[in-house]
């Protein structure tokens, strides 16, 4: 397959990303963590202890900010942004009846998937990293570089992982992609990932939390250590990279095996 085809889809999708509706979503995703961190900072400001803090006393330690930013950026922004872009990867083209035009191009379906995937990852990542950068400035944390680099690394891992996951769901269930992706996220990524059993190791959230613990030097309690174990970071990274690749391959295989056609009014 010509890599230029993927590039064509990538650039075309980025042009689509600059339409007003998508720009609004991009701003919402970028501004939401900034809004929350600003409110959190204001809350700290109004706390009696901090109103009269001695000069040189730091704001709350690094750890709470790491946790907050983790919840906001690699978790919320990456999850929601990827869900918005990649879950309807097939259904959107079927719904707007543009699928046929793309499906009759040489390797068109594969190029469409991979081009959209790359566009989604870069779109979400740009919102995540910009939001993160502003948030780190607002936090006035002890070690802003450590804070930024830890969360940025996790965002760079979570965006491709979630995008591949939602894309696979979108190709497996093109009819109800969005609802199924929301249900999956609520059940597996937000609940099952906290179940101390083998099943939680299948979630992206588990790997990300384990990496946060490692890279962020978070001092979790014993319960958390039971949850995340003592696996080194490279294992989590390999698992995420492997699962991302597998999910992408699954999506490509599914989209090339399935008979997907648009219906239209002149169906004859």
């Amino acid at each position: 397959m010509n890599p230029g085809n993927i590039g064509a889809v990538f650039f075309f999708e980025w042009q689509r990303a600059l339409t007003p509706a998508r720009v609004v979503w991009w701003f919402i995703l970028t501004l939401f963590p900034i809004f929350i961190i600003t409110l959190a900072r204001l809350t700290f400001n109004t706390m009696p202890r901090y109103e009269h803090r001695p000069p040189g006393e730091s704001w709350p330690q690094q750890e709470p900010w790491l946790l907050f930013l983790f919840a906001l950026i690699p978790m919320l922004v990456s999850m929601l942004g990827s869900l918005l872009w990649t879950a309807p990867v097939i259904s959107s083209e079927l719904e707007r009846q543009s699928w046929t035009y793309l499906a009759v191009r040489p390797h068109g379906k594969t190029a469409l998937l991979l081009g959209k995937y790359l566009a989604a990852v870069t779109w979400v990542l740009s919102a995540a990293l910009l939001g993160l950068s502003v948030c780190v400035v607002i936090t006035q944390a002890e070690d802003p570089w450590h804070l930024w680099s830890t969360i940025a690394k996790l965002a760079c891992i979570s965006c491709p992982a979630y995008a591949a996951l939602y894309m696979a769901l979108g190709t497996l269930f093109p009819q109800r992609a969005m609802a199924i992706a929301v249900a999956y996220t609520l059940v597996f990524e937000l609940v099952v990932s906290w179940v101390p059993a083998i099943i939680n190791k299948l979630t992206v959230q588990y790997r990300l939390l384990a990496l946060l613990q490692d890279w962020g030097s978070i001092t979790f309690g014993n319960e958390m250590l039971i949850l995340f174990g003592y696996s080194p970071a490279w294992i989590h990274l390999s698992m995420l990279a492997g699962s991302t690749a597998c999910l992408l391959i699954l999506s490509i295989v599914m989209v090339n095996l399935r008979e997907l056609t648009t219906t239209n009014g002149t169906e004859g």
Binding site: L102, H107, G265
Partner: protein
């Protein structure tokens, strides 16, 4: 160009295409059938978007399902709209050409040429949202011909075109055929197909009712009851003569025209000159009242449905 062998397509328990066997050499063909007859399913099978449940098909000697090589040789204009309204027609055609593997500059050049062919140069940089239905139809055609395919497949290409647009589209397709390229044109409007080609496939209920030229199918129908109008100087005498020869099922005389229904039209046509040789009856004009494709189609449909024609 196109070979179908017992091709059947089921959607669950619903049958889309029913046991079609067909072999077509390169050329121009009309695919004619009412709404819901299976035209789009057949086109989806030919363009490799669907796999036959049973049977096999080959397009330009290749199996179409997901065949990248074949996609380089065919151009498809679907019946659905499916355009990106915020993009210009030019951007869209360039994008689809890039998906054919063309570098950006080449894609731009080819897109401009294709849009020129469909007379869309004046509006090609405007957003598709501002196009009329006819303009959208032309852009759809442009994307199908832009990569210069060998075989063009069009699903209802005349939809939404005004009379001028229809005329231009007809000319364009005639030029396409004149260049020696192949064409398959699906429509449920008969005269649209008649204006482009005389070869057609009749499809209904997922079954192929007939295929060939109008004459060939007419010949096939020659032995089924037919209504014939005979314009002559003595219609009453002619009616008597034909009744004596037991050629008439029913008749109607208006001025100098005798309209009869005969269940042996072929015999009638071959013997009529002999019968008239020794009579003063002069026939000025003779034609089947239902010689159009429409009547052909109606007759075949009735036969297919088990009614008498």
């Amino acid at each position: 160009m196109l070979t179908l062998k017992n091709v059947t397509k089921f959607y669950g328990t619903v049958i889309g295409v029913n046991d079609i066997t067909l072999s077509l050499p390169p050329g121009a063909y009309g695919l004619l059938g009412p709404n819901g007859s299976g035209k789009s399913t057949l086109l989806n099978l030919i363009t490799g978007q669907l796999k036959p449940t049973m049977g096999s098909l080959r397009v330009m000697k290749k199996t179409p399902w997901g065949n990248a090589e074949l996609y380089r040789q065919i151009g498809y204009c679907p019946g659905s709209e499916g355009l990106y309204s915020t993009f210009s027609g030019y951007q869209w055609v360039v994008y689809l050409l890039q998906l054919h593997g063309l570098p950006l500059n080449a894609a731009r050049k080819e897109a401009t040429e294709a849009l020129e062919v469909v007379s869309m140069c004046h509006a090609m940089h405007r957003p598709i949202a501002s196009y009329s239905r006819g303009m959208r139809q032309r852009v759809k055609l442009a994307q199908a011909i832009a990569h210069d395919p060998e075989f063009l497949i069009l699903d209802e290409p005349f939809n939404g075109l005004d009379p001028v647009g229809r005329h231009e589209m007809t000319n364009l397709l005639q030029d396409w055929i004149a260049r020696g390229k192949s064409l398959l044109l699906a429509s449920h409007i008969l005269h649209e197909i008649e204006s482009v080609t005389r070869s057609f496939l009749l499809i209904s209920g997922g079954r192929l009712l007939a295929s060939g030229t109008t004459q060939e199918v007419g010949l096939m129908l020659a032995n089924i009851p037919m209504e014939v109008a005979l314009c002559c100087n003595q219609p009453h005498h002619l009616a008597n003569l034909l009744m004596e020869k037991q050629m008439i099922d029913s008749l109607k005389i208006t001025d100098q025209t005798l309209v009869i229904t005969s269940d042996r039209p072929r015999h009638l046509f071959s013997q009529l000159p002999t019968w008239l040789a020794d009579t003063p009856i002069e026939i000025f004009e003779m034609h089947s009242t239902d010689q159009s494709l429409q009547s052909l189609f109606d007759t075949l449909m009735k036969i297919h449905q088990g009614q008498s024609a």
